[in-house]
Amino acid sequence: MEHMWTREIFWNVGADKKIVVYCLAVIALGFFSYGIYRRYFLWRKVSRNKGRISFDALGKRVRSLIIDGLFQRRLLREYYPGLMHAFILWGFFVLFLGTLTIALQEDITSPLMGVSFLKGYFYLLYKLTLNIAGLLAMAGILMALVRRYIIRPDRLSRSAEQGVILIWILIILVTGFMLEGLRIYSLKNSWEVWSIGGWIVSEILSRLNAQDFSVLYLHKVLWWAHLIISFGFLAYIPFSRLIHLVTSPANIFINAPTSQAVLSPIVNFDASGSFGVSTVKDFTPRQIFDFDACTQCGRCQDNCPAYISEKPLSPKKVIEELKARWLETGELMKEGNGVEGKRGGENDGLLDEDVIWSCTLCMACAESCPVYISSFEKIMELRRSLVLMKSTFFPEIATFFRDVETFGDTFGRGRAFREDWAIGIDVKKISDGNQADILYWVGCQGTFHDRNNLIAGTLAQLFKAAGADFGILGKEEYCCGDPMRRIGNEYLFQKTAQRNIELLGRLNFNKIVTYCPHCFNTLKNEYPQFGAHFDVIHYTEFLRDLIRAGNLKITKNMEKRVAYHDPCYLARANDIYNVPREILKSIPGMRLVEPERAKRKTFCCGAGGGHMWMREIPGKKMNEVRVKEIMNGQPEIITTSCPYCLIMFEDGVKSLGLEGIKCLDVCEIIRDAL
């Protein structure tokens, strides 16, 4: 009985038509390849830089491809759109595998070895799987249609193309089920109930009492229609947004090992004549490929603090606009036309300056992009061009650069005042002849800001209380360089970094502990670009270890509602979000309330990317937006572990007129709990 469970592949159409099918397939693949080839030209040739795809860290690339490509991890962080997309992807993926299986049997195993495996239990399982896949895909398409035309979220750009694609896929699926239904209706095999979708169609047909002759005729017509529509779809892929079927996974593969916490260095300031990006041609092929991998899903925009604060920046639009400039330039180049695109010219500026300066380099866009695109990386390139090539920046930034250049700190105070914060604490100084286990890197904020220097002092006192062998650089400490780098002054950054690396390399210590997450990230992740590998930890990690080891003993109860805000450069850039929570939770009585956006999904305080020294760009104040969000949990204390965030929140709490809300650093809470 079992051998009956199979089907004739070219049933009702005739196996002699096979050759036609293969001709059509070749034509479709031809279109597909041509489309990709055309694109390839645009990917590679528009850029003046040579790019080469690297295959190092292969394990990481493949892992990301599986986790975020196949299993859609990042997409599934949002249920509705995540499931919607996953259903379509998985559905089609399985259907595609199913078609391959047929081809395997019909073209390889059957003619060459006389083996047909699509029969029996395997056939039933195969049918069931494919039917479920088809139904899932259909559900996904319907969800997409509802979302696009009924829910209409702000982040979706509306274009006819997307509607066309959805309907096209729907037609493929529906005709597929209809074909199956027609066949089942004619053959009347009861075991075909396993083909759920087809069975439903056949049931409908029997209710309608369809005529056998017309059923066969309709099947034939539909069979060809289904085939042509499907091949047409394949051919259409590289000419529409469907190209993301190719570019998105490729992009995940290409970008997987790139760390968002690190900006790429400009190598050799003496040799290259142009820094940053002033025309699309300055982007690398990899960056250009990003433009094509973008699916315009809008997740980056939804998570961008600048966009949410109504600043003139949307990371999604950044990619869209740059993509348009690139295509424009590429098309003109193809025509052999020397002219560049509308805004592709050297001096036009690819994006408005307000857009470029609105970014706080918080990395939320890159973190949320399902296909590993970093919008801020492109913004950074444009900033570099503004700063290094055109000297175009706000005058307050000019003052800032001068301060750092002259005095080595972001406050423009100078080394004479570097040790003032430590007056009365008696801290050892590490120098050529004087070593310590821990080098406490205080940072400019901890050194000079009249609120943050209290925190720097508290930290030193905690280290002392725990009996740690630590020292500071004192007058020899310099700015780490982070703000300059993220404002676009790579030159000043590298000069500063080299100076620090030279000094640190000479001294004797085992570990660096930093107060500020920005110093932490720079010393830990960016200095290695210049050959300096120090063991760097953040003070929260250090305090956690001291508490765990019993060197600091929490003795007091604190019946307080406390909200912890994750600094971008600690949580998002360095995955440190459990450590401060562990510290806070070790205090009895403390109620930790979580802001809506927390851990890796945290929301920028508003001071990153140089905004500490920049005017407020029109829109809402980012710190107020964040403070309001945090206040939803009704905390009595807002705590964080970054000097920038702390000042921003104190400012926000004051300007919102919130009475009785305290802003404290985590270490101040620990001090109070000892």
């Binding site: 005058p395 307050e396 003052t399 001068r402 002259t406 005095f407 406050f411 423009g412 100078g414 800001h449 009249d450 500490m612 020294w613 920049m614 005017r615 407020e616 104040k621 300007s655």
Partner: protein, 335 residues
Amino acid sequence: MTMHRDVWVLLEAEDKKIKSSSVALIDEGRRLAVQLGGGLTAVFLGQTVEGMDHLVGTHGASNLYFIHDETLHQYAPELYERLLTQLLLGKKPYLVMAAATSLGSDLMPRVAAKLKAPLVSNCVEIRVGEDMKFIKPVQNGRLHATVVCKAPGTKMATVDPDVLTIAKEENQPKIAEVTEMRPDTEGDRLSIRVTGFLKADHRTIDISEAEIIVAIGRGVGSEENFKIIQEFADRIGAAIGGTRPAVDAGILPFERQIGQTGKAVSPKLIIMCGISGAMEFTKGIENARTKVAINMDRQSRVFKSVDLGIVDDLNRVIPQIIEHIDAMADEEKGQ
């Protein structure tokens, strides 16, 4: 080799009077001339000033070169440059000084370039020694650099007018020997001509250039109170600036924000009303000369670094100051 170690000073006039900065410059020139063991000569281009020879002589210059012509009544850069260069080429003084006013700062570099002479701008002190030493602020006044001139020949300097003060000691009335010169300016084709002057309006002047500033903060409270501030600023010819909250509240436009994320100002006088003196704000007033604060809160940080602190409600103090100013003005009119 014996050298003339003569000192020359460039004079300027305003409202048909020699500017006080110029008079002070003569005093400074005399001090240096004595140390150098040379004579002091003044040079002036422009329109006749009543009693000039007497004034210049009394302050210690024995000679005055007075170059006058219709075309010199207003500063004409190219012409001034040509005439002064010619004169100096002939006389070869040891040191030439001018006040670092807008005229001095424009003219001296032109002449220095023509003479190929070293010029140190905006000095706050000049010392005589084996080599001349010029001390001048750099990095926005946070540091002072000593510039040593080792080159032979004429040295030039402009002096910060703010450090120039007229000497207190009684001078013997003396008359300087005046050499009048009438240059031929027919052939000069001037590409730069001054067509007139606009007086700076304290209401519209850029705060980074204002000499007097009334700065407001959150403590001003409302638009209503702001009107009193405006009246006050008008009375004393002050430009209005403020803190970031004042800008955020929409009372002031961003161009008037002082501080770390706004502008740095360097007025001679700043009066801070309802400002707490946060670091981000004080970063912008590091170069202000005299600082006055009006704040209700005795503990306020703003009082840490002011020359005069008034602890009171600004809505009480300011109307009283206005009244006082008006009374003084009436008195003056009455006289």
